[in-house]
Amino acid sequence: MEPVLELKGITKRFPGVLANDHISLSLMHGEIHALLGENGAGKTTLMNILYGLYKPDEGEIFVNGKKLVVDTPNDAIKAGVGMVHQHFMLIPVFTVTENVMLGNEYLKAGGFLDRKKVAARIREISQQYNLQVDPDAYVKDLPVGIQQRVEIIKLLFRNANILILDEPTAVLTPQEVDELFNIMKTLVAKGKSIILITHKLREVMEFADQTTVIRGGRVIGTAKQSETNQLMLASMMVGRQILLNIEKKDADPKEVVLDVKNLKVLDTHHQIAVQNVSFEVRAGEVLGVAGVQGNGQTELVRAMTGLDHPIEGKIKLMGKDITHSSVKEITELGTAHIPEDRQKDGLVLAYSIEDNLILNTWYKEPFAHNIVLQRKVILDNANQLISKFDVRTPSPLTATSNLSGGNQQKVIVAREFSRPIKLLVASQPTRGLDVGSIEYIHSRIIEKRDDGCAVLLVSTELDEIMQLSDRIAVMYRGQILAIVDAKTTTRESIGLLMAGVAPEDH
């Protein structure tokens, strides 16, 4: 059988980087082909080339045996290739209908938009592929799972036969993931072919017919689902043996460090983001906060660290009321914070590593003497921490903007962990990092726990929560639906909670 899509020897160079090195890939009719690789392996670059957003330096693309030159996304769309991007390409203030027709509008006599006809076509597609969505709803009002359906409908509206899904599960609950894969099965059954870009092994094992692993811009191998297993794919992806599960002792919780009662916090739009939230974290344990992104975790963390103040409720740190304390006071009481967005809130990107390492201690001895910074001490401190925390950098004077994501995160961890701390608030500590860095940061967090630090871990990655936590709190629409023991719970029951099904319902 002839492949519907063939990539031959695709090469793309960026200044100083070989992003794609002679990558070849063939997609068969009606299959789900997974493209597996770590962040930075070159998956997205490859797909952007196929979609006409980048031009390849070498290589050819064939669709149904015919050579295809893609200069713009239009060429790809015409050839029946469609892409659902990792960050949705939807306009929040437009309706579903307007988003779907954009670029491919139906017109009435006189050149006016024919919204009705497009809406009718959307309903038709919804029926055919079992993709329920209201054409008149505004995209900003839809949950992410539904927004993703809108993206898929956009492709089907343009009669795409080859669908590329870039990390489609990153923002979904486990149940939404299952639904997405049901949709993908329907699509494939109706003759579409799918490329699934992912770095999650479990998805590949469960849903792909065939898997191509790439690493460092090169194809490491292609395997049928029946001929492979998770560990094999993992080592192909990383290039060495890795531990999929980190080993840890049982927790030994001691006194209460963080005590939160009836918290109510507003978001930046003055809407209630967190309400009726109460919990405590003890020294020597990890409390994981699970939940789909945007269910109040960000606001919760901001309240814990003093970046925002709650409108109701109390927060106590080791018995001291910190509800309305400043960030500096909270930091000095022994709170460390690994923020959700490391580039925006964790580092001053334009500053050097040595300066970033003293961002919350610069005014103290020995880094400052009266009003003068002690450059030598600061440099020594940087050199010490760089080797201790294995930050890969040419020099402590390098600007943090020049570091890779993993090394940037290590700088933050080094800064926060090198002080005596009682409480660690870690928000998405491994987002966007490679497997090696994830392993490293996870083991450091567990180390802190064993040292008697209380850890509040907020993550949307269920695997991370399951691996590190001793107890798990699930947040849904600003509330904690339940706090459960990590050892006795299952992925499925956490998944249901993340989707908003309270424990008494099942």
Binding site: P73, M89, P92
Partner: protein, 422 residues
């Protein structure tokens, strides 16, 4: 999904009680203001006369004469009733509309007091308000065209000024229509500069706009001083005459206010309608707005982001050019240095106040025009307020609106950011 999310806990929309109270207090304060400032300064026998006949119209409408004090007391009572209800229960979503009503009552009371024992030409006041709204609304429309596509255009002032200069010069040299044409062309040329700087060379759009404004002030002042003010033949373009709309201009009161003007006033109304239709009901509008909201999304759908932006900025420049022509061809018939006097910036304020909507901008333009018109009438009324203070009114309102007291507007999400393909 629908099956699994059985227990959806919806967080209630948070309406701050503070905001409700503050609004209630504002309503009451305005009502008390009516009583303290106006009612107490009027004696029981005083009468207010509003003339409803602006002059020049064939339809004669009798004056509206009523006793001042009872009217003021009624207005103060209505205002306090609204304030009391706001404090007790709150108008919820209608709060902003009620704020508008109470402010309206206050302004009307001000006029009643100002004209007590005398007479005020209400129709004339409103007619001038419409005229004063023209450059502001047209400027706002120019701004909307650019901003909806994601390009900040603070150079509207400079575009207007250059256009006004060209309108005077070429209007004098050739004829008034050619003057109008060159004004629009001048606006387009200035816009081309802005577009190339901010789209192609990705210059900070505030800076490129400022540069254009400074350039426009300099070059027009220089050329004007050198030629236009010396040779009267170069600065005598004439202006478009008044044209009564047949039928409509005969409507009593409203007719002369809205339908007895020159072409710029009618063009303002027509452009507002045209732009509303074009932005929200055509392919061009959908694509333009998409580029201003999320250019990358538009790009992935095969829409040429930069070309769309060029077109919008050029159209915006032409609109600004047309607005500039108004100062000469629709108003005084000659060019004077820096004659736009900040109207381009007020136009931008009207755009923001009108929430980037043509119809909203017309409303804002009218409001600002009214304040402008009122300030000029104050000299006639014996009101002990310096009219410069009243002229500040629109800007104070704008600042209050921008500070988010009335609510947040929704500017295009990608405004001011040059588009880069990673």
């Amino acid at each position: 999904m629908t099956q699994t999310t059985a227990t959806i806990i919806k967080p209630a929309e948070y309406i701050s009680p503070t905001r409700r109270m503050v609004m209630g207090i504002i309503f009451l304060a305005l009502s008390v203001g009516i009583w303290v400032l106006f009612s107490r300064n009027v004696t029981a026998d005083m009468q207010t006369t509003f003339s409803l006949y602006p002059g020049g119209s064939k339809v004669i409408v009798p004056d509206w004469i009523f006793p001042s004090l009872p009217m003021l007391n009624i207005l103060a009572l209505v205002g306090s009733a609204l304030g009391a209800y706001q404090l007790a229960r709150g108008f919820g979503r209608q709060t902003n509309a009620i704020l508008g009503v109470v402010s309206g009552i206050f302004i009307f009371a001000f006029l009643v007091w100002g004209a007590s024992g005398g007479s005020l030409n209400l129709a004339g006041l409103l007619k001038v308000a419409v005229v004063r709204a023209v450059p502001l609304t047209l400027g706002a429309l120019a701004g909307i065209l650019c901003e909806r596509s994601g390009v900040f255009n603070i150079a509207i002032e400079g575009m207007m000024l250059t256009a006004a200069f060209c309108a005077a010069l070429f209007g004098s040299l050739v004829n008034i229509w050619f003057g109008l044409f060159t004004a629009i062309l001048a606006g387009a040329l200035m816009a081309l500069v802005l577009a190339v700087l901010s789209i192609k060379y990705k210059v900070n759009q505030i800076i490129s706009g400022t540069v254009i404004n400074i350039f426009a002030t300099g070059i027009t002042s220089f050329l004007s001083a050198k030629f236009l003010q010396k040779y009267e033949a170069l600065n005598n373009s004439g202006r478009f005459g008044t044209w009564d709309v047949p039928g409509l201009s005969q409507i009593p009161f409203i007719g002369p206010i809205l339908f007895s003007h020159n072409i710029f006033i009618y063009a303002m109304f027509i452009f507002v309608i045209l732009m509303t239709v074009a932005l929200f009901y055509t392919r061009w509008g959908l694509r333009t707005r998409s580029v201003g909201e999320h250019p990358k999304a538009a790009d992935t759908l095969g829409i040429n982001v930069n070309r769309t932006r060029y077109i919008s900025v050029l159209l915006g420049g032409m609109m600004a050019g047309f607005a500039g022509a108004y100062f000469v061809l629709g108003s005084v018939g000659r060019f004077d240095e820096v004659m736009t006097a900040g109207r381009g910036f007020v136009g931008l304020a009207a755009m923001i106040f009108g929430n980037y909507n043509p119809v909203g901008s017309l409303g804002a333009g009218m409001l600002f025009g009214f304040a402008d018109s009122l300030a000029s009438k104050l000299a006639i009324l014996k009101v002990p307020i310096p009219n410069k203070f009243l002229e500040m009114g629109p800007y104070i309102i704008t600042m209050i609106v921008l500070a988010g007291v009335v609510g947040r507007g929704q500017p295009p999400a990608a405004g001011g950011k040059p588009y880069e393909k990673e």
